[in-house]
Symmetry: C2
Subunit: 242 residues, 2 copies
DNA sequence: CGGTGTATTGATCCCGTTCAACTGTTGTGG
DNA sequence: CCACAACAGTTGAACGGGATCAATACACCG
């Protein structure tokens, strides 16, 4: 059922082939990419790059989830983005990394050396257009999240987060639509600009209100999607985040 | 002293010629842009485009300041970006606008019809690379702002805001470094995720602490830049926002 | 002058934080 | 198999920063 990924397979069998930076590339262009790519994996919790490091590689997330975050001197941490399969790490034309990149789950990256990749971006319009398109989408997503961070209540933040998880849970499992929280309470708190206690309390409230049901602490079922969407604070058409 | 802008002048005399999307373009490319550009102005307070509208034009801000914002159903508003001269409006490859764009001051835009511009982006790599570069910078700026919105205190928010105004006030006026707040208290509040009362109080506190001095309600002088930077909550090297 | 809109200041309230105790789960070693 | 340590998560009680409500000050303009 789950997608089996094998590093030996060519790009043709890659699970993110049609969503990642290479989505628009033709066979000829794929050959160039395939020649220079390599895979690397990180265990959950490992830091992939630190803010301030000079960027050695551009990468796409193939499997797993990574996060972008910034920590203030006194330890307060804000997550500024979740990197899901097909998402891209690196800014062509910029030397350094400006946020910490961390593996949230075990992560597999498809990686390119900086210099050769920047040359490819120059040469392959299909590639650079896709990179730009993805950057613009991320920009919109970041701005949507700014609204959440600046103006939403704790309940609205939690509802928006759950709704986001549900919406992009691309794998519609067998019968009951069961979903998994990919983050710990602490990570959720850092994503939403809250404390773990508030996250825990609000999740308990949504449970008590009958909107969601938890089987264990990580996986849940939606009982009342309308009520959930109502609780996000967005208008009907909704903010489309990522 | 101030830059005199005349719509009749060619792009050669344009005040944003070397910072805007056209920064990298050569003479030949400029000719193509010049042929299709037109200028348009908006008065302070006017809405330039509404969220959801289909985008008819791509534009660069030439003079003045515009804002990007989102308003929730119940009226809560979050500003998600300030558009200063040379900043770009529009997402090549996307049909609709996803945030309200409003003129904060009187604004002059250099404007291109959507279809012809998208064709130019396809054809001129210098143009598309600059657009991508600017999008990536804005993405970083948006993420920096997410840290502010999610984790900073009211005082830190105000200090960061003032510091940003000071840092990018490119016009180092005559003798005393006098700066102008381009936004009303309400706009500052919507930018920082605060209420106008809190903004007012924190500005008064910074005044009482001797960090800044107001001549009138819009213009001020920095007395203690170190203390200001200290109050931002960022580490020494600082977050570079826009 | 008053009128209108913006900004400041004060008093009170409340949501989310903080501090703290407890629960539940998992893994390790005797 | 149990003891217990280590850690993630939940729940409670009290606090406090920023919001809310309200009154006042200030600037601009007729």
């Amino acid at each position: 059922m789950t997608f089996v990924f094998n590093e030996r397979d060519g790009c043709g069998k890659c699970p993110i082939r049609h969503r990642a930076i290479c989505a628009r590339c033709d066979d000829e262009e794929m050959e160039l990419l395939e020649k220079t790519k390599s895979y690397v994996t990180f265990e959950a919790g490992q830091t992939i790059v630190w803010r301030g490091d000079t960027l050695k590689y551009f990468s796409s997330v193939v499997l797993g989830i990574a996060s972008l975050s910034r920590t203030l001197e006194d330890g307060r941490t804000q997550m500024v983005g979740l990197l899901l399969p097909s998402d891209f790490i690196g800014r062509p034309g910029r030397e350094t990394v400006d946020f910490d990149v961390t593996a949230v789950t075990d992560v597999t990256l498809c990686r390119f050396e900086r210099k050769p990749f920047e040359r490819l971006v120059e040469d392959l319009p299909h590639l650079s257009h896709r990179v730009m398109e993805m950057a613009l989408d991320e920009l919109s997503a970041a701005r949507e999240w700014m609204v959440l961070l600046g103006r939403k209540t704790a309940r609205e933040k939690i509802a928006t987060f759950i709704e986001m998880i549900v919406r992009r849970d691309t794998v519609p499992t067998h019968d009951a639509p069961r979903h998994v929280l990919p983050l710990t309470r602490e990570e959720i708190a850092n994503f939403l600009g809250l404390t773990i206690e508030t996250v825990s309390r609000q999740l308990s409230l949504m449970k008590k209100d009958g909107i969601i049901t938890f089987s264990d602490r990580r996986s849940f079922v939606i009982n009342d999607l309308a009520a959930l969407q109502d609780a996000t604070g967005d208008d009907a058409d909704g903010g489309v985040i990522i």
